[in-house]
């Protein structure tokens, strides 16, 4: 592994934290206006058990929502990729659905499935994140050049065989591109429910309790923890991409 490859992002993060600290210090902002990075370790040490429990809550529900989004998004993308009629029928619906602010859906879900907090949260993470996957898989499949179909089609291969051997692997780079977007979206969905719905769990609820108690360092500590989880999941996707679609990466130069 290239040493520089690890060092560069670490240095940029340190520079970011230093800048943040500096701006707070220069403006003389007190804790209750804007916390600074140096306030955060105290918050983490004080609430470390809560952070561990709530991070886990947030993480598993996000991953579960994302998994649903992958299954459903890929399926929808396949339908739209292979059928122009399905594409024409589904696109306006999907775009319209995607345009609805998801915060407005939270109370609807809360009433529909009263008390099913985990379920609601997973559902929201799913709803907010399947769109990019469906669109990119759909586009990947519908733009497959006819020759790619013909090399196997001319031998009498079935549609499914052509999909499995050619269309699916060829769409993987687009799929992973969309998945990187979906990962962060899924976090937003999870947190939305955690913050808005009463008696929430996870980092969102921890953020809310920080707000209720006027504990600003705790609120910022939660935000940083969320960012950390986001980065973690993002690089998990990058690692999977390297394994399954590493061929698409060209050597520079």
């Amino acid at each position: 592994m290239d040493f520089k490859k690890i060092l560069t992002p670490i240095l940029s993060i340190i520079a970011f934290l230093a800048l943040w600290e500096f701006i707070v210090w220069v403006n003389g902002w007190p804790n209750y206006v804007m916390a600074s990075p140096s306030d955060l370790p105290a918050a983490y040490i004080r609430y470390w058990q809560l952070f561990l429990i709530d991070s886990w809550q947030t993480l598993w529900r996000t991953v579960a929502g994302l998994a649903l989004a992958i299954v459903f998004g890929t399926f929808l993308g396949m339908v739209m990729g292979f059928s122009k009629t399905a594409r024409d029928a589904l696109y306006p619906l999907l775009v319209g659905f995607n345009a609805i602010p998801k915060a407005t859906v939270v109370p609807v879900l809360a009433l529909l499935f009263i008390g099913a907090h985990d379920f609601n949260t997973v559902l929201m993470a799913f709803m907010i994140s399947f769109f990019p996957i469906a669109v990119s898989v759909g586009i990947g499949l519908s733009t497959l050049e006819p020759e790619y179909r013909d090399i196997l089609g001319a031998l009498g291969a079935s549609k499914f065989t052509i999909f499995r051997k050619i269309a699916l692997p060829k769409t993987l780079p687009e799929f992973f591109g969309a998945l990187k977007v979906s990962v962060t979206l899924a976090f937003i969905g999870t947190n939305l429910v955690e913050i808005i719905s009463p008696h929430g769990k996870g980092l969102g609820a921890l953020f809310l309790s920080g707000q209720t108690n006027g504990d600003y360092p705790l609120m910022f500590a939660v935000l940083i923890a969320l960012a950390f989880l986001g980065i973690l999941l993002y690089y998990a996707v990058v690692a999977l991409e390297k394994i399954f679609a590493g061929w698409a990466e060209r050597q520079p130069g």
Binding site: E147, L152, A154, L155, K170
Partner: protein, 262 residues
């Protein structure tokens, strides 16, 4: 000799927004077993439609396509195809690209046998030692060589090529003509080659068929009476030069420019 490919009175039109667009008009082509048939014609005269018809990927509106004494109604496992785009699957190594048709046609064949067959072909086209490379690591000409190997790996009796050398530079193209000639000597296929290049048609063809402008019918058939073991030099000999002139004139007629000064 039996006609392996027999195209009888094929007429075909595409449906477009502005009504039917006729592309083939009562087309007749006969190719005896083992022969190499080059098809030339003006741009957009329906040559690519012809390849899809022979491959059984499309059915003609009228007329029939026969292969090996059987009417073509759907794709057959005994056809090989190559296109201008080498259509390499980037996620597979070169050799895994070449064995792709075998995975469909001969699923029971062992992996070792598939690889042995592919290695043999790759060696014939000068790609020995490149089996495990990725397609992105190869030049355009090398990718096209691999593509030819893939088109014949399952020993098809018909090889259909749609301008396979069209995107290559002139010297690479001439190299590939010679590769094609050598493959032909070693492998028993009957070939249809769609091309824009008259020199290519004379160098590789046993017969050259000139299609008329759209809708295309068979305008002229040239028997290429040259020895099988041709070299590029033969293209500069009077006999070949005469053929090229003749074909050039036929193309002009096909383009509808017969009356123009040239």
């Amino acid at each position: 000799m039996e006609n392996l490919i027999d195209i009888r009175g094929v007429t075909h039109a595409y449906k477009t927004k502005h009504g039917a667009l006729p592309v083939l008009d009562n087309l007749d082509i006969q190719v005896p077993q083992g022969e190499f048939c080059a098809v030339v014609g003006p741009s957009g005269c329906g040559k690519s439609t012809l390849t899809r018809l022979v491959a059984g990927l499309m059915k003609p509106d009228q007329g029939e396509v026969w292969l090996h004494g059987e009417k073509v109604t759907s794709p057959r496992k005994t056809v090989g195809m190559a296109f201008q785009n080498p259509v390499m699957l980037e996620w597979r190594s070169i050799i895994d690209n070449v064995i792709l048709p075998l995975e469909i046609v001969a699923p029971s064949m062992s992996k070792a046998e598939k690889y042995a067959r592919a290695e043999h072909l790759l060696e014939m086209v000068g790609l020995k030692g490149f089996s495990n490379k990725r397609p992105s690591e190869l030049s355009g000409g090398m990718r096209q060589r691999a593509s030819l190997c893939r088109a014949i790996v399952h020993k098809p009796d018909v090889l259909i090529m749609d301008e396979p050398f069209g995107a290559l530079d002139n010297f690479t193209r001439e190299d590939l003509w010679q590769t094609m000639r050598d493959l032909r000597a070693a492998e028993p296929f009957t070939a249809v080659l769609i091309t824009h290049d008259l020199r290519e048609s004379v160098f590789l063809g046993d017969q050259v068929i000139v299609l008329s402008g759209r809708p295309a019918h068979t305008q002229y058939v040239l028997d290429v009476d040259l020895p099988a073991d041709r070299t590029i030099d033969i293209l500069y000999e009077p006999k070949a030069v005469d053929m090229l002139h003749l074909l050039r004139d036929q193309i002009r007629i096909a383009q509808g420019r017969d009356g123009e000064v040239h």
